[in-house]
Amino acid sequence: MNCQKFETVVSELARGQMMAAALRGEALAHIDACDDCALRFRDEQMLTRGLHSLAAEMDSLEAPAMIEANVLMAFRARNAVVPAPVPQRRSHSAYWLAAVAAMLLLAISVFVFRWTNRPVADPRNAGNQEEPQRKSQPVEQATPQFANNVPVPEDEFVPQRRKPRRMQPASLSRPANNQVANHVTNEIATDFIPLSYMNAASLQDGGQIVRVQLPRSALVNFGLPVNMDRYNEKVKADVLFGVDGTARAIRFVQ
């Protein structure tokens, strides 16, 4: 072993650290042969002894008892505080419950308001208050029947406005050649004729009626008779559009 290699192991040797027996033997042999390295080894040993003495002197030192008391006090205070989030969490959940309840209440209020103010399609359900209004209109008094003497079914009463309204499925199942009198405009109209293979119940969702003009030849497509003398004239029709915007049914108006 040379001095350079001895320098790398002298600390470990002086500290009594575990090392290979052969390496330790070589290092000890080098100490015997080299005075400088022997001096170096002696210094390292003295330093090790000094450090051990310092460690031994401080070995009995401990933190003052006051620290333990402080730590325990803080721990107990912390644990006493731990339940605090529970009521806070409760207040949070109570807040959310109150918010949900308020929203439900608002939704119910809106629903009730709209229900009570909804358009009345059936005059039988309109109550006594609407009856005088209808009677006050001269048109309604004049023509309670169709031209072909078919009694006007009360559930086919057409309101004045053209806002979306619920359609009764029964009107679609009725024969197409039945005509309905419009009490407001004194018009005569056929029943609604379905335009597609739809289920009548699908019109329960409501829809919108749009007045259009069609060539008179369009009557042929629905199996209705056409007056050839007035072939070039247009014919009025009400097209019922569903909520999805597709034409569901049509009726012809005269």
Binding site: L47, T48, G50, L54, M58, L61
Partner: protein, 206 residues
């Protein structure tokens, strides 16, 4: 309490985090001395050591769940926390490196005479005092290695975990720290002689 004495540090910590103050007491009594001594040896100040000890256990109380037993022992974890608190405190108080080679404060030498048995010429208290001052005069990165490996008898592996470095780094720092300590503890005349000797040696190594 007697039953809990047999519990490991990790089990005590788990109980402590569940709110068991008895577990905290046991854990504190088991580990406080090492933390306190480490802080005292690193700072040389009792008030700092007391504050750091308290802060370490308060930290354990608050953040004890971050301890991962698979990464090392709780003792090493506490030393690591204590190290951070000590360094932060020393940085704040500007107590770092008050003693260095250029310092005016004289460090008592282990070699009071040219005798081959210098320790016999000094009282034990003087020797310990000189070593303590020499250790405190080391730069922090060398001081912490000396404190852990030499004074706290922590293994190289655990020291590497505490410091977050490789074992080889610990070895080399300890070697360098011991050389610095010897240089500080050597009398001036001998230091100069040894200094020239070391230069000579260095030339030989080259």
């Amino acid at each position: 309490m007697n039953l809990k004495n047999d519990l490991s540090d990790t089990e005590l910590l788990r109980s402590m985090l569940a709110g068991d103050d008895e577990a905290l007491t046991l854990l504190y009594r088991r580990r406080q001395a090492g933390v306190y001594r480490f802080a005292l040896q690193m700072s040389g100040s009792k008030p700092i050591a007391e504050d750091v000890t308290q802060e370490v256990f308060l930290f354990l109380m608050r953040e004890g769940h971050v301890f991962d037993p698979t990464r090392g022992s709780l003792s090493a974890f506490l030393f690591g926390v204590a190290r951070n608190f000590v360094l932060r405190r020393l940085r704040v108080e500007q107590l770092l490196a008050p003693l260095n080679d250029e310092s005016d404060e004289e460090i008592p030498s282990l070699h009071a005479t040219a005798d081959l048995c210098p320790l016999e010429d000094l009282t034990r208290a003087e020797t310990i005092d000189s070593v303590r001052k020499a250790v405190l005069s080391l730069p922090a990165k060398y001081r912490e290695v000396v404190v852990l490996c030499e004074l706290q008898d922590v293994s190289y592996g655990e020291t590497a975990e505490i410091l977050g470095c490789a074992i080889g780094t610990v070895r080399s720092r300890l070697h360098r720290a011991r050389a610095l300590l010897l240089a500080k503890l050597r009398p001036v005349g001998e230091f100069e002689e040894a200094g020239s000797a070391s230069v000579k040696s260095a030339r030989c190594f080259a």
